[in-house]
Symmetry: D2
Subunit: 325 residues, 4 copies
């Protein structure tokens, strides 16, 4: 194992608030510890096509407050191929990059694992995704901010729902995981959440809403996890058919969920795991994701954190049920 | 003309942030000036069905910060009919309401005018709509808040648009008026706005965007006024067909534009026009809307303020054009 | 042990964002589980003077979004005395209150413990304080919101500090604990934090700042924990004397840190522990605080959670040091 | 008069949110109209010491959302001297700057006038100050944002004031003008405002507050304009002495009032006046400030806009009086 002198950093996959804070943390902690830092643009695409720039602390000045990622991000079709990986490796050799820090979600860390194994190359991952669907860390960078963004939006929708006494189906992101939907439903005082982890009986839902409305609730808000087949529009249509007397509306929050200045928690998570990534490299770790579990920095093997079935605590279903009476 | 002792207040039509601040102002200024105040729920519907409650200052305590309307709002199908109007009038008689303050937009003030003329009844209007499409006032209650809400959303979308180098078509409210779209486009630094007041040539738009992207702009955002036929989805589809290499996305902001704590400007507008409404009643005015023009309180005859072709300043088109190079 | 039928709820001590969400959760979960709920106003003062009102779900409708506490709060001088406690107990008897839920910080839970022991009365505590200085829970209700409020304020101060190239000492709350100061310093990208847990050498601080400024940092922000003797003003004066060429300013954030709509995380914490409090009563628990540790609901004996030396992780000092180069 | 080819731009005096949006607008509209644009750092100081950089549209990319000023700002002691002015002029000659756009408040525009007159040099001003104390424009860049920032802070303080039933004296900026204090008091539903334009009788104030508290108002908030002698601390002390039974607190909002992302209105004002500045230069105007009056762009001679006694509308005193009963 050669001594690591230069660390490349990239962001990959869907962008998440706090990625910039993580870039800043890795860059500053890296320089503090004597490494050279090189920023790689557009994720693995930029690694393949040598879009690389040396970073000083100046490059990351003032970015802690900004959403998105100054390194930009992309989903690369070429990287998973043997040719793509080979080109990416050649860029590392050419740029004298001895180790990579990859900030991203499930797909990005899978790519990181494959690259690290293929070329026996030190790769450290940071959990950067709004979906919170990575094992081994209590939270992912971006998740808390997105939850707060959804909450602000639903608080606004509640104002108009109350004024018009309407029913709203609000669709939120989360891919295959219901973290955002279930937890934002609790945070907003929503009446129900529809999540991929639980089957939802439309008849029961309609009965429940009907009771609520008759009990003179002012409005009803149901948070729905995005889904190709049965998102908010699907449930709204079903309920409208069943109860034509209800005034039912749909709101799909969309891409605004990805942006915005990161929350305090996401910035602290990014700072702590970013410093942890440099620490990991100093310790000779490789092919691990840096997470926070029980307020401790942990190093989780890639193979463990990208398991695809991380689930929110079932207890939260009880919480929402009891509070939405 | 009998001496006015009791004033009824209602909100009608689409809700707008600042309606509560206006209810508070009318109630407090009314009581300060010796009137009794009665709150009427659900707009003209509540006037028809006698959903009326006497208000003290307690009833409006703490509501200045809240979006929506504590009086709720509705669109009444019965009110425009002779029978509906008659029932509404009978509620006024029964409740000893001598004058009405109506907070709402175009349709609501049209109803107010008709009611006032039909029964020779003193009605004062306040401009309450996010669309800013009422003549005789520089701004309507709710417009400034909604503009800021759109701006915050588009700022967030810009973060992710930049990170992925994408094109976004963002659809905003405004009914038949382009105030929200044109002005929020300027506020957000958007590349273009599509408004009902101007015809938009898709080819020109696509050429413009193509130039921008090639000049290595990081992203492109086009704000589109809502429209039954050619909203954001329509333009996105057209551009996608023309330039399949662009990564085009759509975001429809929807009902969240109606909610949220009102901005300082909307609260001050609500306070000033609310006090102005009571002043108008004391002066014996009737069938006028209270507006602010050039920082002065003005009383605008209903027939004038509900003209349907209020337009934003064409100068703003030049501003956006010059800034989106 | 008599069967518990009626639960009294109160908030005590300094108010914290999320207390209303907790009141809502206890009330709704209580009613869901068949209990009567009585709201007690002004903390222990209201318990002494019988300021009690029966609560239905209506009483807590719409409060999840609001800062402060609808039950109001106070610091009672009478309650710690034997006479005060006796009167409080008599109110419980008179109002048929069989158990108490107390939402508050260190002092309030100490009172809860003493009352519970003195009268063999079931008391359950919820951790409600912005200071995060309670053992046995990863976070307290209000802490996350206040951290985000501080962050927003310091982000604003950074704008003007950068523009004028100034040094700011920003004083934040936290009583004897440095959680807010240390973590918000990391979140804001501050150059240093002064916390009660660590002694601060003014000479070292000044040297550090001097280096930073000379290295052409645009500005310098130091977060200072409130302290009767050596708060932000003290350090600013010392540095000004040492380096008269610096443009040094002070900002004391003050009481705005206590207010505002609670963050998603605080609302979820309030919901989860509120439901947990009712669960605890059903299980026959008493004299415990409900906390969340490692995403699990835990019941912590009062004697344990009110130990006065909870400290933030020393690792965070390293994080700030490495990132403020 | 030589044909103007190159325009220099600077920000001066206290920074204000929206200055960056104005820099962006001048730069982009300038380039659109065929001018070269040069950014001058640190206000008149940078003009004296030749801190000048050519700007392309890239230099102002993404700054519309940011508080502060990327050009930085300073108060120059040298510029008002003949030697200072001469050096500044020599920089213009050396840098081939043919016209200046100055963004700032009273003092900065006074300097602009003097410079323009002394060297017969074309200078255009933009109204950049949070204080709104410039004649000839309905609003200044920064004023609306700061009003909203104050409002958010006071809304938060209201939460805790209500919970503890306290009296707060909140000190806000505004220099010698009461715009911010009077209008934010109305926006926040404050009980009173103390402004430099009106003398305040402490006895009357105390009586008024005493009545309010006894009438069971939940809290009382008084907004106080900053003042060297009688700010919030002064009034709080006086009231405490008079009514020792009141729980009186002080909050001095301080420099956070200067920062933050600009509001929609400030961004639009900056865009419109920025485009207007370039238009003015094309028209051969000089020594005027660009303002907006009644939604029209106006050009106001420097000598007129810097008169020092701009006052808010007295009607607003009546509005606050009637609403604070």
């Amino acid at each position: 194992m050669t001594k690591i002198k230069t660390i490349g950093i990239l962001t990959s996959g869907g962008d998440a608030p706090g990625m910039n804070a993580a870039i800043r943390a890795v860059t500053r902690a890296g320089i503090y510890n004597g490494f050279r830092i090189k920023g790689i643009y557009r994720g693995y695409e930029g690694l393949i096509h040598d879009e690389v720039q040396e970073f000083t602390t100046e490059n990351v000045s003032g970015i802690v407050t900004r959403g998105g990622t100054i390194l930009k991000t992309a989903r690369s079709k070429e990287f998973p191929t043997p040719e793509g990986m080979q080109k990416a490796y050649e860029t590392c050799v050419k740029e004298e990059i001895d180790a990579l820090v990859v900030i991203g979600g499930n797909g990005s860390l899978t790519g990181a694992r494959n690259f690290g194994m293929e070329f026996d190359f030190p790769v450290i991952g940071l959990p950067g995704t709004i979906d919170n669907d990575l094992y081994g860390t209590d939270s992912t960078i971006g998740y808390d901010t997105t939850m707060n963004t959804i909450m602000e939006c639903v608080d606004r929708i509640r104002d108009t729902a109350n004024s018009h006494e309407r029913i709203f189906f609000v669709e939120v992101m989360g891919r295959d995981a219901g973290f955002l939907a279930q937890n934002s439903a609790i945070a907003c005082g929503a009446e129900a959440a529809i999540v991929p982890e639980e089957s939802t009986d439309v008849d029961q839902l309609a009965q429940f809403m009907s009771r609520g409305i008759r009990k003179s609730k002012k409005s009803c808000i149901v948070i729905v996890s995005e889904s190709p087949k049965c998102g908010a529009l699907y449930y709204a249509d079903r309920v409208k058919k069943e109860f034509p007397e209800f005034d039912v509306r749909v709101s799909i929050l969309g891409h605004l969920q990805r942006g915005g200045t990161p929350s305090a928690r996401d910035r602290i998570l990014a700072a702590t795991t970013g410093v942890g990534a440099i620490e990991a490299i100093k310790q000779g770790q490789r092919n691990v994701m840096v997470g926070i579990r029980n307020n401790e920095v942990v190093y989780v093997p890639f193979s463990e954190c990208i398991r695809t079935d991380k689930r929110f605590d079932k207890r939260l279903i009880k919480v929402l049920d009891e509070l939405s009476i």
